[in-house]
């Protein structure tokens, strides 16, 4: 166990280092934030003055070195647009993003589980195709479209829910549903595939032969075995959804990290992008580690390998 955790730690450090370096390189390749900060009529000397003040006139290697030393101290600098500490801005948005991601995953599971089970237990029939078809439907439209359709239906036509914003649970429904449409499909098929694989196995045949009721067979035995791939996907999706909810956050004015990050990218707000990417990467990796740990709990036969 200790070896496993140490190896994971090392792996994490390398990955985060690579991600941060990549972000730094990528950002500096794309342009100069000073251009975005000053109004169009700013003179050459104003631009130079601001560049100097922000340390952007140094050679790239020097900036990179400074960047690394700062990050190791946990200092991600000050956002160029907001003039506030970059990490603070990201942390402020994190709860909203987490709420959206967990709700979306929860909703996705709630729909995917029954769909997948129905599809697996009635394999080959019209019901199977219908269930899978429904799940896939969520994946067949881009998120902005799903979001706008749901908004049109739920808020404008049926007038049941607010159109956008961040407030009580009612504001959460439409964005969460929208964000859930993608992972729902992946999960439904995983549930179906996982159950199919186990439903056919000797293990289950024995249980049936023993005369156990169908429901017990299905729920108790197969679900637990199909749990592993589902947990993997949930863990993977959580990290992806945090940053990938950008479009959803834009449509529904949800104050999350994704939206913060994309406007930071548009404005070349280097410190803010770096802070946001760091946080998202950490959450993603943490999720992965938790998933790996859960394998051991779900299936005692699995030995955690470094």
């Amino acid at each position: 166990m200790r070896d496993f955790l140490l190896a994971k730690l090392w792996h994490t450090v390398i990955v985060v280092f690579c991600v941060l370096t990549l972000v730094f390189v990528v950002l500096h390749l794309t342009g100069d934030p000073v251009m975005m900060l000053l109004p169009p009529n700013a003179s050459r000397e104003e631009i130079d003055a601001l560049s100097r003040a922000l340390g952007l006139d140094q050679p790239v290697i020097v900036q990179y070195g400074r960047f690394l030393t700062r990050v190791m101290r946990g200092d991600f600098g000050v956002s160029l647009q907001h003039q506030q500490p970059a990490m603070g801005l990201v942390i402020e948005r994190l709860p909203a993003s987490m709420l959206l991601a967990t709700s979306a995953l929860g909703l996705a599971l709630m729909v995917a589980l029954p769909l997948g089970i129905v599809a697996a237990t009635r394999r080959g029939t019209a019901l199977d195709h219908l269930a899978v078809g429904l799940a896939v439907l969520g994946q067949s439209a881009p998120i902005f479209w799903t979001g706008l359709m749901l908004m049109l239906l739920g808020a404008v036509i049926l007038k049941l829910l607010p159109t956008s914003g961040y407030g009580d649970w009612q504001h959460l429904v439409l964005p969460a549903l929208t964000l859930a449409s993608y992972p729902m499909a992946a999960m439904a098929r995983l549930v179906r595939a996982g159950m199919l694989e186990v439903l056919d196995s000797d293990y289950v045949r024995t249980a049936r032969a023993k005369g156990l009721p169908e429901r017990a067979v299905v729920l108790k035995h197969t679900l637990k075995n199909a749990a592993m791939p589902i947990v993997t996907v949930v863990g993977l999706q959580f990290g992806l959804l945090l940053g990938g909810a950008i479009v959803c956050e834009m449509i529904f004015s949800w104050p999350g990290v994704g939206r913060l990050m994309i406007f930071a990218i548009y404005n070349r707000d280097f410190p803010l992008v770096e802070a946001a990417v760091f946080v998202l990467a950490m959450v993603f990796i943490l999720g992965n580690v938790l998933v790996d740990l859960s394998y051991a709990w779900l299936d005692p036969r699995v030995k955690l390998q470094a």
Binding site: G133, L148, N288
Partner: protein
């Protein structure tokens, strides 16, 4: 020789895909108008069967007066190209890296695993914006971006399968006999994992066509005036109420193709499964 009964569902799913391919290939012959020109005075005309519509434009016109039916037909080119080529590129990369990681284990696998995690942890949009900013918005750049968005899926599955295959008797035998690694990979591993990659590719094509639309929404898609379903859908989102036909027809086209590709993929996997199980 077992008789493979091809279910009617698969045939049903193949039809729209075939139709799309026909549209893509024969677009200049099939489309009634030039998809890139339009008359501003005729903008936002509804489809022919509605009161304000006319037979001139079956599916109506868009915000610049261009014929929507023509844009759908020509759009099949870009959408299918984007989907297939990017899926293929991504598949090749993922297949190769997955095989290498799964077969050689150790250092190579560790590096590839880190590559996978870095890719997943790195915000895709930042990467897309950078490529567009540095290299300019063009179709080839878009293909590269999309290809890189999906290779991880193939890599993971192929790696898993390669790990399994590695322990089988015939590969152990081949290694014992002193066969070089590249020969084993090409002759024994590749034929067995390629079918997994192909199945993944069918769903990937669907996902990439949809992703192209999302990128268009963010202004990172195919440069105008090239028509694409994804771009048409993104443009049409401003006209949900007074111009629903702008987005509905490309949206239906995308949905249909994605659904069909998924069915085909599932069907292909079901067909391949017994064969694979036997060997695995």
């Amino acid at each position: 020789m077992r008789r493979l009964r091809v279910p009617s569902l698969l045939l049903l799913a193949a039809a729209p895909v075939a139709a799309a391919v026909v549209c893509a290939v024969l677009a200049p012959q099939l489309a009634p108008y030039n998809p890139t020109t339009g008359d501003l005075a005729a903008r936002l005309e509804p489809p022919a069967w509605m009161a304000a519509g006319s037979a001139r434009h079956l599916f109506g016109t868009d915000q610049l007066g261009r014929d929507i039916l023509s844009r759908i037909i020509f759009g099949a080119r870009v959408s299918l190209l984007v989907g297939v080529v990017s899926a293929f590129l991504g598949g090749t990369v993922g297949l190769a890296l997955g095989m290498l990681g799964g077969y050689f284990r150790g250092r190579a696998d560790s590096v590839i695993a880190k590559l996978i995690d870095v890719q997943l942890a790195f915000p895709f949009l930042l990467f897309a914006i950078t490529v567009i900013a540095v290299l300019g918005p063009s179709l080839p750049n878009l293909l590269v971006i999309l290809a890189l968005s999906g290779w991880v899926t193939y890599a993971r599955v192929v790696r898993g399968q390669t790990l399994r295959l590695r322990e089988t008797e015939f590969i152990q035998a081949a290694r014992g006999l002193g066969c070089p690694a590249w020969w084993i990979l090409l002759r024994h591993v590749l034929p067995n994992v390629v079918s997994y990659a192909l199945v993944i590719m069918t769903t990937e094509i669907g996902r990439l066509i949809v992703l192209e639309s999302t990128l268009s929404f963010l202004g990172l898609g195919v440069p105008p005036p090239t028509p694409s379903w994804g771009m048409a859908l993104a443009d049409g989102k401003e006209y949900l109420i007074n111009g629903w036909w702008l987005a509905t027809f490309p949206g239906v086209a995308i949905m249909l193709i994605v659904l069909c590709m998924n069915v085909l993929g599932d069907g292909a996997r079901d067909l391949l499964e017994p064969r694979l199980r036997g060997r695995g």
